[in-house]
Structures are given as C-alpha cells and as structure tokens.
C-alpha cells in the first residue's frame, strides 16, 4: 500500500546534502523553490517534485484513491541514502557548471549503457576525484547520463586512452532498453 506524505526536515537534509555534495551545487533550496517535495512511500521511497496546484488536487483525490505517481520523479531514498534519477539529473543539470563532456564515440557508448574509456571523454572536470559522480553531456550540452569516476583527475592524466575511467550509473538509453 502506497503512502504519500510531505518530506520531513531530516529527509530534506539527506536529499539536499547528497545533491550539493555530488554536484557541487550551492543552493538546492532555490532550485526546488517552486515545488513541494512529496514522498511516495512503498517498497522504497520515491522523491517527487510537485507543483502547488497539483498538491491541491492530490489532497482532494487521496481521500478516494492514491495516485500511481505524479510530478517530477527526482530520485529514491533507499536505506537512508538518496539516489538521483534520470529526470533528477536533467532537472538540476542547468545549475551545474562542471560537467563531463563526451566525444561522439562516448555519446554512442553511454546510450547503450556502457562504461567509458578516456578516449570517450572530450572534457574531464579538473577537480574530479575517484568515486565522484558527474553529469555526462554531449558537445551540444545535452544531458545523456550520470557517471562515476574510477580515478582522480591527476591519475587519469597518466592513463592510456583505452583505460576505463567512468562507470555508467544511469543513462537515457534506459528509456529504450527498459522504459517500454
């Protein structure tokens, strides 16, 4: 049975801290200011961004039936950890300066769900560290995926072109592979 409720201050801090830390974002509150954050609690917790008008309708509706989903699916909270969604990275991408830029080969590979080698990257953020996540865009600045770096920036400089440096976390090829 699904339960919909407002995010608690503790859960809000969890989401905010994750987003701020992962993407060097300064003002998470400002980005989501026009939305209410509603949690859909089932097997796990989905974090949804919902407009005020939608919340009003939702309140009328929930006396009779719960929605299946609503608004922007921003991510999940599982075992007290926040995991951002594809829609979530697309939503915040415009507020983030230092993104990784893929080459043409990288663009193709990432949309097939594959990990990336050094030669697949056109630009690597200067301060990136091992295990940090980075939004992966193409040269047209379109968000394609979220990746996790396997090495520090300094170490990447010493690696060969075919060395795998990014693990694909989520990518927009998902819509075709699994979305239906």
């Amino acid at each position: 049975m699904l339960e919909f409720r407002k995010i608690t201050p503790e859960e809000y801090e969890l989401v905010k801290n994750h987003v701020n830390a992962s993407f060097t974002l300064q003002d998470f509150g400002k980005i989501v200011a026009n939305y209410e954050i509603i949690l859909m609690v089932g097997k796990w917790i989905e974090v949804l961004l919902v407009s005020n008008q939608m919340v009003k309708i939702f309140k009328e509706l929930k006396n009779f039936r719960n929605p299946y989903f609503m608004g922007v699916y921003f991510g999940d909270i599982k075992r007290n950890k926040f995991k951002i969604s594809l829609e979530g990275i697309t939503f915040i991408a415009q507020y983030i300066d230092d993104k990784s830029i893929l080459s043409e080969s990288g663009e193709k590979k990432v949309l097939y769900g594959r990990d990336l080698t050094k030669s697949d990257l056109f630009y690597i953020p200067k301060q990136i560290k091992k295990d940090e996540r980075s939004i992966l865009i193409n040269k047209k600045e379109e968000v394609l995926a979220l990746g996790k770096y396997l090495f520090d920036r300094k170490k990447i400089g010493t690696l060969g072109d075919q060395e795998k440096i990014i693990k694909n976390v989520i990518d927009k090829g998902w819509y075709l592979r699994k979305g239906g």
């Binding site: 961004l49 407009s51 008008q53 939608m54 309708i57 939702f58 009328e60 509706l61 006396n63 009779f64 039936r65 929605p67 299946y68 989903f69 609503m70 608004g71 922007v72 699916y73 594809l86 829609e87 697309t90 663009e107 949309l111 193409n138 379109e142 968000v143 394609l144 927009k172 090829g173 819509y175 075709l176 699994k178 979305g179 239906g180």
Partner: protein, 320 residues
Amino acid sequence: MGDQSNLVREFCNKYKYSPYMIERYVNLFGEERVKKFLDGNEQKILTTFKVNTLRINKDVLFNRLNAKGFELEPISVVPDAFYVKKAPFSIGATTEYLLGYYYIQSLSSMIPSLALNVSSHDIVVDMCSAPGGKTIHLAQLMKNQGVILAFELNRERMRSFRSNISRCGVQNVIAIRTDAANLPDLHIKGISKILLDAPCTGSGLIPVDPSRKTSRTFGDIKFCSSIQMKLMKAAVEGLERGGELVYSTCSIEPEENEYIINNVLQQFRLEVVDLDINFGEPGLTNVFGLELSPEVEKARRLYPYLHKTEGFFVCKLKKV
C-alpha cells in the same frame, strides 16, 4: 441483392476480410466508395511524429534529423509535426528521441489533444492515457502547467506511460491506475476539459495491422460500444458545467462513434461543438437505417484513402 453478395464475396477474396466487415462497409459507404476505402487500407501510411516543444524548437530538430539523413515534411493540419518520408534507420532510435525531443504518433492521434483547446490553468482529465502521446501533447499545449489527471488501468501500459512522459519532461501529470469509469467516484472539482480516447476495435488501424481484417467480430464491436458508453457517461458526470470533452476512437464503426455521441446527447445536457480543424469528413447522421441527431455531423471521420492516416473518429462536446 445477388449483386451485393457477389461483391462481398469478391472483396472478401481480394482483400481478405471477414465477410461481415465487407457487408457493413458496403452498406456504410456504398459500392463505389467501398473499393476506394479498401484499396486505401492496403496503402502504407507514413510514420509521423510530433515535436516536443517543451524540450526543443521545431526548426532546430528538423535540421538535426535532416543532417542524419531523415527526410521530413511538415504536417499542415498539426503544428510542430512531421511526416517521415525517408529514414536511414528507425526514427525511434536516435539520440534526439532519447532526449525526448519528439514522440512518434499517428497524425490522427494528434487531433484530439489539439481539438480540446486546453490552456495552462485547466484541470484536464486524460481518461485512457497510455502510451502517453496525447498526454505529452496536452502538457505541451498547457506549457507544463495546470494539472493533467491521467488514467490507465493496465500496469504494464502505465509503466510505459511513465517512461514516455518522463523522457519528454512532462511535469504536470497526476497518474491514477484505475478504470477511468470510476472518475465520478473520485469527486475531483473543477475538471474543465476531458479527453476520452476510448478503447475500441481498432478497425481504423487495418493499414498498420492487417490482422484486424479478421480478428474482430461483431460481438467485439458491441462489447467495445458498451465500454465506450460507460466511459462516456463517467466523463460527462465528472466534467464541470461549461467544460468540454473530446471523444475519439481509432475505429470507423458507427456503433463505437456516432451512436455513442447520439446516445449521450439524448441522455445528458450536451451540445456538439465544431472542431476548429479543417480536416476530415463529417460524422454520419443516417447510418444502417438509423437517423441520428444532425448535431453528430459536426464530428470528424478520417480515412486512410482520403487523409493518409489511420481510420479515426473525433467529436467535441460541451456540457451545458
């Protein structure tokens, strides 16, 4: 009579339909027109797509797909939509598709959302929403504001609906997994617009799915018609006074279309509204020996042989 049964037999052999369907179509269109209609169902229909203006400008997308070798032609009756005249590979396998810059949808299916004339402050109900093309179109016309209440009963179809609207960046949807016939029981106030693209026999889809020439029976038409009437009643009850409702099907059977409109006109205070779209043939008002309300003529029928799209029916009503 003998001539007609010869004709039915001849067309059944030639076009491979169930005999009852040919008989109905001969009665519906007359001998001269039925051949054109059946020939039209044998023609390939061009793939069409609608640009997602929430994500990209039409001209930018045109240039990008053109550079990849897609030959596109604008659709005159629907803004921001194209025919795919030549495709070097599947139009559903581009980066632009994954980025939600467009969604593949038949031309006929673009008409109902357009006809509903929604605005950014409307509360809109999309009664049978999967796979989501019409909902995405509505969200664009509403500039991602207002609220769309999207109903879908089937879990798998709801999953694909969610994926499609997420891909296209739609933000104003509340999705409800239930039979849309339950709409009045949800007591939602202020519903100003309803789109009911009803489940149907899909006889208009024969050009893209020839198995429908034999896979549906007259019993299926009756069955669909009863579901359509149930949904239509729920729609009218859920709609606020002065609100508008667009009813559509991809069937060309009068029992699923004009009869439904005629029935609700008799049961509720409704009027048929002219569609602001210069496309399609008028609704039928004298069919299989039945005289229907002259208002039904304001509905629109689309045929493959005339309109180069799937067979379709669309009608707009206002609750008075």
